[in-house]
């Protein structure tokens, strides 16, 4: 029909022809567009009909790609790493097998201190020992690197404790050390609160209370408000409202002197936290021994945890 119209253009005057020609062209364009749309619509409907005929049982399970998972202590360690890395800390790991100097002497531990006993510390046949805390790394770092220093040292530690619900001869710690001009206990408070907030949520408060460690002065124990009852008192926190998390303090000038840092110029803080303790609180794990049994049913529960 449109072609017929084109043929009849000749009947028009030369002035009228361009306008009518344009009109016919526009009409053809419009028709072609409508036809294409309709054709596509029919195809879409035909596919929909075919798919309806399949009668699939959509409740049958899908084909999954089996995922493995990390151990909850690794997940916790990675999270702690992430928190401190984002705060500009470096990670330093050091060796598990250490000498008495780095594990005790350099940390200002008296020669007759009970922690040096065979009943507390594992000694090895090569004259060394298994580190009882990762503070050894702090000494190693301060010996080798000038301030400012901002590190955490996560890793395995060893104490001659029989395994029970809250003890293990092998356990994991993360220690933090900050040395710079003008570092005060306020910076320690600040860092602990930031850590508690990121790990346990914005409702959790941290506090420090007086204690004694040979390598810090003043020394403190770290508490956080109970993650289970938010401080009102429950079984988890033994009705105190607070949970003990680890030790902290300002680096003892004696320790600075041993590693050759001028305590009049630099100050610093350090703290140490138990990774098992954090994981148990976070995941509600009642017994530390569960963490070292490696029961696949336990491991599967943490498959979905990130990191």
């Amino acid at each position: 029909m449109l072609n017929g119209l084109f043929a009849r253009l000749r009947e028009l005057s030369p002035e009228e022809r361009p306008a009518f020609g344009q009109l016919i062209n526009d009409a053809r364009g419009e028709l072609e567009k409508l036809l294409a749309e309709r054709e596509n619509q029919i195809k879409v409907q035909s596919w929909e009909k075919q798919s309806g005929a399949l009668q699939m049982d959509i409740t049958l399970p899908g084909i999954t790609f089996e995922r493995g998972g990390f151990h909850p202590l690794t997940i916790m360690r990675n999270r702690i790493d992430e928190v401190f890395l984002s705060m500009g800390f470096e990670i330093a790991e050091g060796l598990d097998i250490e000498d008495e100097f780095h594990n005790f002497d350099a940390l200002n531990t008296p020669a007759d201190h009970p922690s040096r006993n065979l009943a507390d510390t594992f000694y090895l046949d090569n004259g060394k020992l298994l580190r009882t805390q990762t503070s050894t790394v702090q000494i190693r770092v301060m010996e080798s690197f000038p301030p400012p220093i901002r590190i955490i040292s996560p890793g395995r530690c060893y104490r001659n404790d029989k395994p029970d619900p809250s003890h293990s001869p092998v356990f994991h710690q993360v220690e933090a050390l900050v040395v710079d001009k003008g570092i005060s206990m306020a910076d320690l408070q600040d860092t602990l609160q930031a850590f508690a907030t990121i790990m346990f949520g914005s409702k959790v408060r941290s506090r420090i209370r007086p204690h004694f460690f040979p390598f810090t002065e003043p020394s403190a124990e770290i508490d956080i408000s109970c993650v289970s009852c938010q401080g009102s008192g429950c079984r988890v926190c033994k009705h105190s409202g607070w949970l003990e998390m680890g030790g902290a303090g300002m680096v003892d000038p004696a320790v600075f002197s041993i590693v050759g840092i001028d305590p009049e110029v630099y100050t610093g803080f350090a703290f140490g936290l138990g990774i098992e303790r954090i994981a148990m609180l976070k995941y509600n794990i009642p017994d530390m021994r569960i963490l070292f049994e490696n029961d696949i049913r336990m491991l599967r529960q943490f498959r979905g945890e990130s990191l």
Partner: protein, 844 residues
């Protein structure tokens, strides 16, 4: 914005080196986007007069010109095709032998006519992009002089990016003022001219400002008896170098003064302006909003319809200009113009921006008015333009300045605390230095006082209480109070961007140079980030392959090592023993992760689990003479089904190729595709037939194999009744960290030409390994054959004993061009020949 080096140095002593000037501009915050150097031209390029220009017969555009080049000799005959070529004009001639950029001018014959030289356009000389015609110099230009003198060559044109806050930098004066502060050089600015006006009864102007919000100030001057003509050459050249076209002396002067001061001007033909009311004695300028649908004929030759939001400069009847954006055709300056109205005004930047955007007009004027120009300077800008007009076009200034300025500028004062500078920038700047810098920028030191934030218009409100309070015995100051001592400065009107203390601090830091900002000692970098990442990547790879991580004590039972087949004497010098172990099965430090993983496997099998993939990534503790090392190791055990049970997907037991694949995909992720797999040396706990060792560049990095069922039995695992194998992967994490340390990923440009895939099937002896087949095919043309992949291996019926059938894909691709069918066929023929000749393969 384009700035000429030669022009700039008229106002200030500049460093001789262009790069030094570029550095000074860049580090005072004026970004140099581009630089174009215009080299000096050879002496054989001279001004000349075209004595005659005759049309060349048989050509519609060529002229034969006779040219006087001022050399006293004969006239030069040159054939020229430019449309504007005419007799009597003064142009630029490049004599034969001149090298112009890439072109050597030679004597030549054009259509049989001798041509000795070339009449040049601006583009041919490299002065501008203009190539519409040949250069036409002013009539009074001497003939035979070097063009370098005319155009001030050599020169460098700087393309500057002026940040939107710095409207004061939109002209030469502003740029040199800033440079005088950063280079510490004196300014050589011309003094402001005094304008003498003559009062007139017959001539005058009615100025009506209806929109004081959109136009804070409007000034106009009336100049009579001007002679509109061409501009002199110096003025034309100045505009050309800044990328503007010369039009006539009046328009050129307004443009020139805009380039110099940064403040645009506009000139109207006085006699084209209508009265507002027939009874008015004089024509009117009305600053108002456009009427809805008001038509406007603009200077760019286009007709616009205004919507009523635009600010216009109208006469008594209709819009004569879109304020600050573009002038109108009807009131434009022409050769017939004898009296002009010179506008110098300030407009609301937002309104200008909106109008320019809406009508898609971008002019040198709108570019500047969009940036908040100061409303104090219009009369001074106007005076400078008038000085040039009187000089170049004559005429007389009629009546005093017409000035609508409802809210006149008031002096403003800002306080700056030296201690605050130190707090923000990190170092102390002496007060004398502060004052020197700021005064170079046009600020004036007023007095000391206690700090008050923001602009202060009344200097009597500056107090100095600090000292008195101490005297009165009040000694408690908060830390903020300790930083109250301030210097008060008056801010010049053209620095509309300086409104807060911190703005002054920025100026000082910028002028002193950001390189003076001290760097604090950085924290010691201790961490081996590469090792940390690779370790995580390896662990995550196994996790993604379905493996669960376990953690064991660092101790082990030496007995279990013996059960795995380790000879105890062999280990004696490796093992580190505890002096006080808790029990004999925890008496040595681990030298292998296998025993504990087998224990864990056994524990879980006893709890009814069959399909297990377990790993541990931990340190081993190995004695090395008097010392010891603690290398990181990843060990994994696999047993049972490949995936969990499913009703639809086939699920086979894990086998050799699954385990090999786990390692191969790890090596791919680590970019260690060159890892070589070889049969493993015999190990007591692995079966010899299907264990492999992997190495890269000769460095051992991993091992895999099947645990000897008899060894597993010692750990309480009965593989025979379970009917499943236990597979082992042992990864030397330290080796992988070292091997990947030099890895550097680079993007390879994606191939533009399609790949061709061909399949081949053939029978081949079982003795020939896949690796050998692959290598043989790849070597046929390593550039074209990208990959050889196997998609089937078959042994059994229809295949003779000792043989197997192999089916493979060959991927071919040329980086340069599309592969032809012929080339592909050739490659396949060569492949078949190699397989037949080397191994007697039979094609299927």
């Amino acid at each position: 914005m384009k700035i000429s080096y030669q022009w700039l140095r008229q106002y200030i002593d500049l460093p001789e080196s262009i790069d030094e000037l570029k550095h000074a501009l860049t580090f005072s915050g004026i970004e140099v986007e581009g630089m174009e150097s215009i080299p000096a031209l050879p002496d054989s390029v001279v001004s000349c007069r075209i004595i005659s220009a005759e049309k060349l017969e048989g050509s519609d555009h060529l002229h034969v010109c006779m040219i006087d080049a001022g050399d006293g000799g004969e006239l030069h005959q040159v054939v020229c095709g430019a449309p504007n070529c005419h007799s009597g004009m003064i142009g630029v001639l490049a004599l034969p032998g001149t090298q112009l950029k890439d072109v050597l001018i030679k004597k030549a014959k054009l259509r049989g006519v001798e041509s000795a030289g070339m009449l040049c356009s601006e583009r041919e000389l490299g002065i501008s992009d203009n190539h519409a015609g040949i250069i036409e110099l002013a009539d009074d230009t001497p003939i035979g002089i070097s063009v370098n003198a005319l155009y001030d060559l050599p020169d460098t044109i700087f393309e500057l990016e002026i940040t939107p806050n710095r409207s004061d930098l939109l002209g030469y004066f502003g740029i040199v003022r800033d440079l005088s502060a950063s280079l510490n050089k004196a300014l050589k600015l011309p003094p402001l001219p005094q304008i003498e006006a003559v009062a007139s009864e017959t001539h005058g102007l009615k100025l009506v400002l209806d929109e004081p919000e959109l136009c804070p100030r409007y000034t106009a001057r009336l100049i009579r008896n001007v002679r509109v003509s061409d501009s002199p050459q110096w003025l034309k050249n100045a505009l050309i170098k800044s990328g503007l076209r010369p039009i006539n002396n009046i328009v050129d002067i307004t443009n020139y003064v805009m380039l110099v001061t940064g403040h645009p001007l506009h000139a109207f033909d006085y006699h084209k302006l209508a009265k507002q009311d027939p009874s008015d004695p004089h024509p009117a300028i009305v600053v108002r909003k456009a009427y809805a649908k008001e038509p406007f004929a603009a200077l760019d030759g286009k007709d616009y319809v205004l919507d009523g939001e635009e600010l216009v400069i109208a006469d008594g009847e209709k819009a004569s200009a879109i304020a600050g954006v573009i002038g109108g055709r009807d009131s434009a300056i022409t050769d017939q113009t004898t009296a002009i109205i010179l506008e110098s005004a300030a407009f609301h930047p937002g309104s200008i921006r909106k109008t320019a955007y809406k009508h898609k007009i971008s002019t040198d004027s709108s570019y500047r008015f969009e940036r908040h120009l100061c409303d104090f300077t219009p009369p001074h800008v106007s005076a400078l333009a008038i000085m040039y007009i009187l000089e170049l076009a004559g005429g007389e200034v009629t009546n005093e300045l017409y000035d609508a300025y409802p809210k006149p500028w008031q002096a403003q004062y800002l306080a700056l605390r030296p201690c605050r500078f130190e707090q923000i920038i990190g170092y102390k700047m002496p007060e004398a230095q502060i004052t020197t810098y700021l005064e170079k920028l046009g600020l004036k030191f007023l007095q000391y006082g206690d700090f008050q934030p923001g602009m202060l218009s009344d200097p009597d409100k500056i107090y100095c209480f600090h000292g008195e309070q101490v005297k009165a015995g009040i000694t408690e100051f908060s830390p903020r109070d300790e930083c109250v001592h301030a210097l008060y400065f008056s801010v010049p009107p053209y620095r509309v961007d300086l409104t807060r203390e911190v703005d002054l601090i920025e100026e000082l830091a910028r002028l002193d140079g950001y390189d003076k900002v001290p760097q604090k000692t950085p924290v010691s970098l201790i961490m081996d980030r590469h090792a940390y990442r690779i370790r995580k990547l390896i662990a995550a790879h196994f996790r993604d392959c379905g493996v669960f991580e376990t953690l064991g004590y660092s101790f082990m039972d030496p007995q279990q090592l013996a059960q795995l087949g380790f000879e105890e004497e062999e280990l004696a010098h490796d093992l580190i023993r505890l002096i006080n172990p808790q029990s004999s099965n925890q008496s040595v430090l681990r030298v292998s992760l296998i025993p504990q993983l087998l224990n864990t496997l056994s524990y879980n099998i006893n709890h009814g689990e069959r399909d297990l993939k377990l790993m541990e990534m931990a340190k081993l503790y190995i004695r090395t003479g008097d010392s010891h090392v603690e290398p990181l190791r990843l060990t994994a055990l696999f047993t049972g089904k490949m995936a969990s049970e499913h009703w639809k997907a086939p699920n086979e037991n894990l086998g050799f190729y699954h385990i090999k694949g786990v390692l191969e995909s790890l090596f791919t992720a680590l970019q260690l595709e060159n890892c070589l797999a070889q049969p493993a040396k015999k190990l007591a706990y692995l079966l010899p037939s299907d264990s492999l060792e992997f190495s890269s560049n000769g460095v051992f990095c991993a091992r895999m194999g099947r645990i000897n069922p008899a060894r597993a039995e010692a750990f309480g695992i009965d593989t025979t009744s379970l009917k499943q194998d236990i597979w082992l992967i042992d990864v030397d994490v330290e080796a992988l960290i070292t091997l990947t340390r030099a890895n550097h990923r680079v993007f390879n440009v994606l191939p533009k030409h399609p790949a061709v895939v061909r399949d081949l099937s053939f029978l081949i002896s079982n003795e020939v390994s896949w690796t050998d087949i692959q290598a043989a095919i790849m070597s046929i043309d390593p550039a074209l054959i990208q990959k050889v992949g196997i998609f089937d291996e078959y042994r059994g019926k229809q295949v003779p004993e000792g043989f197997r059938s192999i089916s493979l894909h060959i991927f071919m691709q040329d980086q340069e061009k599309t592969l032809t069918d012929e080339r592909v066929d050739q490659l396949i023929v060569s492949t078949i020949k190699v397989l037949q000749d080397t191994w007697g393969a039979k094609m299927r």
